[in-house]
């Protein structure tokens, strides 16, 4: 026999282990480590197992021993809900996450226009429904402890010497409260999850499953002697045939499914602590597997327990007493730890969930209203939230403990079913809210009220027994003597199973009232807004602020102000206000004066109505009316107008900036061109001067130079001087042409005369002969222009052909074509022509064909181009032929004055 002290020691060790695990998980989560584990679908699935409480661990066997296979309905419901995740859970989890919902109460109140009345109703109902359940867990721990202290296995009395049940319950409650306070209110952010709690729950899930399966295996193969023997034993036992009433089978399956969705603790792990919506799809089959394994050995344990243990043994404790009676102390210890795990994990999460509700919907509003009356309260709002959370946790556990002390407990299953019936009342309002836009706040309120009242009257109060909470007369004659108000036969319909009766009436009337009242009432604007968001949630995104956040006061105001005013401005404003209030630190009290000042400040940025609505949402939790919304819309329209004006202005500005940038680029380019030009001129001037200087020095210093040498060198000097002179002439010419200062002397003559002059001049004194082919008939056309300048161009072209044509027998064809009012004169020589890459630059200043010892400065073609521009024509190199071809276009009549002016302006730029 294990001594009680040993047991307590193991228990303490186990709890210490849980603390360490939770602590490590919290630390890893804060550091962002171990995400693969903390946020894994496995942990999510295991955390769902808080559905299996001590009621499952111990109670299911008791239930089976009493009612056969009926116990399994409690697991069939949740299994169906999980397998049907696609229908409800998918939506529930998604909404819970996107709307930052913190609890069932928060979900329902958010859906129905952030109604705090609804939140309070749901919270109160949850507390009433779940407190007995917490008491049940404490009771199971105490019972299981007491069985180790009992002198006779199986027969338990509460007054065993050396075992003080209330004291044990007290210490268990204290330990659980400590754990929940430590790991449940660790994060200041209300929306944050509790990785420590979740991981501890997951560990406990493994322990309880392992323990129950171990006991089951021991029973089937150790005691009964194998599977077939066990089955034979089952069929031979008192519960050997199917004896479940159809009504109960259906009703309990439905009830457990509903409770699975509505239980605050389930909502906590399934929705609030959910990290990834995809985990749901894995839990959809993994969790039913867990449930199946949990319930697999229940019937064998019950039957073997009934066989082996003395009559009068509590079947609720067969899981423990069977191994103990067989001397399997280790297994008994393991079973104890499994039960202990079931109980503690349920209490921790249920308390966490309830305390969130109590704190957010009851304690904080009360505190805020006290605050509003001007009570001077010091301290940060955050601390108030944390404090209120912790107080709520202590309150819930204390309530559970008190309930345990006063009620003395009943069969585990009964309490569980009653609790389920209570929370299942949330279902119509919850599902209606998720799927029906027509559901209204009033409808939800009335439906919940009806269901709750019926549950209290038909399920909770009768559970205390006839003559307990309700008098025997009430049971027999109905409330106030009204026959149709009998708690177990409403409307005179008797003969039903009490549980079926209660579930059917409460849920169906709840639903009916909810639907009918919803149909006849009209939702407020914010309700409709929220309703639309919830029902069409799959399409909308964006987190909403929860009510919990809405009471956070200065913190939230600060966050909002930062978003609107910008961080430094908002901080400066808050600091100034805090100083004005005589407080140190960044956060002023959210006094009416401060809130008004902030509203004014925000109004400057977003408009008065918007600012009012925003501040109202955060400070008072007031709802937004249609007028408010219209005012907001109006302001938005004005702002839109203003911003489009701004946009136009900014477009204008950027266009100007682009223009300036272009001008700047052009200037830079011009400056670079000027530098290059000066450098070129320097080079062109210095080159001939080098020869001149050098040879003049040679001539000066030479004493013994022969006559021919002297003549040669002197003629070099002479040539270079001429080159220099021509360069200067050209430069001046070009400069005059480019500046548009040239005056054109218009005369009329035949083209042939101009060409005659050009050819004669260009070929005068030419070293090499150049044959010229002309068609005089074509040239007999008269034209009016500056004939001297045109001749200059022709001279240049002919001279170039003479100089650069590399054919052995150089020839030049001058072809004239008339096109409309333009003359096209082609100069085609039989040389190689100009390389493709050179063609684009031959008209640039100082360009000279490379490899040819030129005497020109490389300005000739530049000058030609300038002249032709002045004359209203053009000059171009025509490629695509074998020979080089310059094409000159010249107008028959010289251009008008305006056009010349234009050209002059162009040239000046």
């Amino acid at each position: 026999m294990v001594s009680l002290n040993q047991l307590v020691a193991v228990c303490l060790l186990y709890v210490a282990g849980l603390f360490v695990v939770a602590f490590l998980a919290e630390r890893a989560a804060t550091r962002g480590q171990a995400g693969w584990l903390l946020r894994s679908p496995l942990v999510y699935t295991l955390s769902l197992s808080i559905y299996c409480t001590a009621w499952t661990f111990y109670g299911a066997v008791g239930y089976a021993a009493r009612s056969g296979l009926e116990y399994v309905t409690i697991y069939l419901g949740p299994s169906l809900v999980m397998i049907g995740w696609w229908w409800v859970l998918r939506r529930l989890v998604h909404i819970g996450r996107t709307q930052r919902v913190t609890s069932v109460a928060d979900l329902i109140s958010s859906r129905y226009g952030k109604s705090n009345t609804l939140a309070i109703v749901v919270t109160v109902m949850s507390v009433i429904g779940v407190t007995p359940y917490i008491a049940l867990q404490l009771q199971s721990v105490v019972l299981s402890l007491s069985i180790f202290a009992a002198p006779d296995v199986g027969l338990i009395t509460t007054d065993i010497p050396a075992f003080n049940a209330p004291q044990a319950a007290f210490w268990v409650a204290t330990g659980l409260a400590l754990f929940t306070v430590l790991f449940g209110t660790r994060n200041l952010n209300v929306n944050d999850r509790h990785p420590g709690v979740v991981i501890a729950v997951a560990v406990e899930a493994v322990v309880k499953l392992f323990a129950l399966i171990a006991v089951g295996v021991f029973v089937v193969w150790g005691l009964a002697g194998g599977l077939s023997e066990t089955m034979a034993r089952l069929d031979a036992s008192d519960i050997g045939t199917w004896q479940v009433q159809g009504g109960r089978w259906v009703a309990l399956t439905m009830l457990s499914a509903a409770a699975f969705l509505c239980l605050p603790r389930m909502f906590q792990v399934m929705v609030v602590e959910n990290d990834d919506e995809r985990h749901l799809q894995i839990a959809a089959w993994a969790f039913p597997l867990y449930l199946m394994l949990m319930s697999l050995f229940v019937v064998p344990i019950a039957v073997v327990g009934l066989d082996l243990l003395p009559a009068g043994s509590d079947p609720d404790l067969f899981v423990l007493s069977l191994p103990l009676s067989q001397g399997q102390n280790g297994l008994a210890m393991l079973a104890f730890l499994g039960g202990f795990s079931s109980a503690t994990s349920m209490v921790i999460v249920a308390t966490l969930a309830l305390s969130t509700m109590v704190s957010n919907h009851i304690v904080m509003p009360v505190w805020l209203s006290v605050q509003g009356e001007g009570a001077s309260q010091s301290g940060d709002v955050r601390h108030v939230i944390i404090l209120s959370r912790r107080l709520s946790i202590l309150l819930i556990i204390a309530l559970g403990f008190l309930y345990y002390r006063t009620s003395g407990g009943g069969a585990l299953a009964a309490i569980g079913t009653i609790s389920f019936g209570g929370v299942a009342q949330f279902l119509p309002a919850m599902l209606g809210g998720l799927f029906w836009r027509g559901a209204t706040r009033t409808g939800a309120l009335f439906g919940l009220g009806t269901g709750f009242a019926l549950w209290v009257f038909t399920m909770l109060l009768p559970s205390f027994g006839q003559g307990g909470a309700l008098s025997v007369a009430t049971f027999e004659q109905g409330l106030f003597g009204l026959g149709w108000l009998r708690p177990q036969a409403l409307f005179g319909i008797g003969g039903l199973d009490p549980t079926v009766h209660a579930v059917v009436w409460s849920l169906s009337l709840n639903t009916a009232v909810f639907v009918v009242v919803s149909l006849f009432t009209f939702p407020s604007p914010i309700e409709r807004l929220q309703g639309a968001q919830f029902v069409t949630v799959q399409d909308t995104a964006g987190p909403a602020r929860s009510w919990a956040a809405s009471v956070a006061g200065s913190e939230d105001l600060m966050i909002m102000a930062q978003r609107i005013l910008g961080a430094p401005e908002a901080q400066a404003f808050f600091q100034a206000e805090a100083r004005a209030q005589g407080r140190l630190g960044d956060f002023p009290e959210p006094t009416p004066t401060f809130v008004q000042a902030l509203e004014r400040e925000l109004a400057a940025s977003v408009g008065a109505a918007t600012a009012h609505a925003m501040v109202g949402q955060i400070v008072g939790g007031t709802s937004v009316s249609v007028q408010d919304l219209l005012a907001v819309a109006d302001e938005s329209a004005q702002m839109l107008e203003y911003s489009s004006q701004l946009e136009a202005k900014s477009n204008e500005l950027s266009a100007t900036a682009a223009e300036l940038r272009r001008a700047n680029e052009k200037l830079t380019q011009l400056s670079a061109q000027k530098d290059a030009f000066l450098s070129q001129i320097s080079h062109e001037l210095r080159t001939p001067m080098t020869s001149i200087r050098s040879f003049s020095e040679i001539l000066r210093d030479a004493t013994d130079m022969t006559g021919p040498d002297k003549t040669c060198y002197a003629s070099i000097i002479h040539t270079e001087t001429i080159r220099l002179t021509r360069l200067l002439d050209d430069l001046l010419d070009l400069s005059v042409l480019e500046n548009g200062q040239v005056s054109l002397h218009k005369r009329t003559s035949a083209l042939s005369d101009v060409l005659d002059l050009a050819v004669t001049t260009a070929l005068a004194g030419a070293a090499r002969p150049l044959r010229i082919h002309r068609n005089r008939a074509d040239e007999s056309v008269q034209l009016t222009t500056d004939l001297d300048r045109l001749a200059q161009v022709f001279i240049n072209l002919v001279a170039n052909a003479q100089k650069y044509c590399d054919a052995p027998d150089p020839a030049l064809v001058i072809a004239v074509t008339q096109r409309d009012d333009m003359l096209e004169i082609d100069f085609v020589d039989n040389g190689r022509g100009i390389d493709a890459e050179a063609q684009s630059v031959i008209f640039e200043k100082f360009y000279r064909i490379s490899g040819v010892a030129g005497v020109g400065a490389g300005l000739g073609l530049s000058i030609c181009r300038e002249i032709m521009t002045r004359l209203g024509g053009s000059i171009a190199y025509v490629s695509g032929r074998d020979e080089g071809a310059f094409r000159v276009l010249v107008p028959l009549q010289h251009v008008t004055d305006e056009m010349r002016q234009e050209a002059a302006i162009e040239g000046a730029i």
């Binding site: 450098s679 320097s682 210095r686 020095e697 010892a853």
Partner: protein, 122 residues
């Protein structure tokens, strides 16, 4: 044996002047009017001195100098550059490329001869 100089200069008159001056001073002058082949010619001739114009058809003086200096055999060869573009930037580029002496055209004959003597002094 007389000392050997390679002169790369596309301006025929200037080349003639320098050729005259240097042969008077006892140099054997090899003249070249184009940049393309300059490096090969210099490699083959391995002269005592190279005179380089900057603006050359084909390949600029800077490129030729750079190629020469990247060959260890010519890393120490005296190279004198002559340019008609007397801008400070050109001088900097030449010095960076490793020129031995940089002269701006037009130059005085004695100055040029002095520079040549200085460069080839033992």
């Amino acid at each position: 044996m007389s000392k050997h100089v390679v002169l790369v200069e596309d301006e025929l008159n200037i080349a003639e002047a320098i050729r005259f001056l240097l042969s008077q001073d006892g140099w054997r002058v090899e003249t070249l009017a184009n940049g393309d082949t300059a490096v090969d010619v210099i490699r083959k001739a391995s002269p005592d001195l190279v005179l380089l114009d900057v603006m050359l058809p084909g390949k600029s003086g800077f490129e030729i100098l750079h190629e020469l200096r990247s060959d260890p055999a010519f890393a120490a060869l005296p190279v004198m550059m002559l340019t008609a573009r007397g801008q400070a930037r050109d001088r900097e580029m030449a010095e960076k490329a490793g020129v031995s002496k940089f002269m701006t055209k037009p130059f005085s004959n004695t100055e040029m001869l002095n520079a040549v003597r200085e460069l080839t002094a033992p």
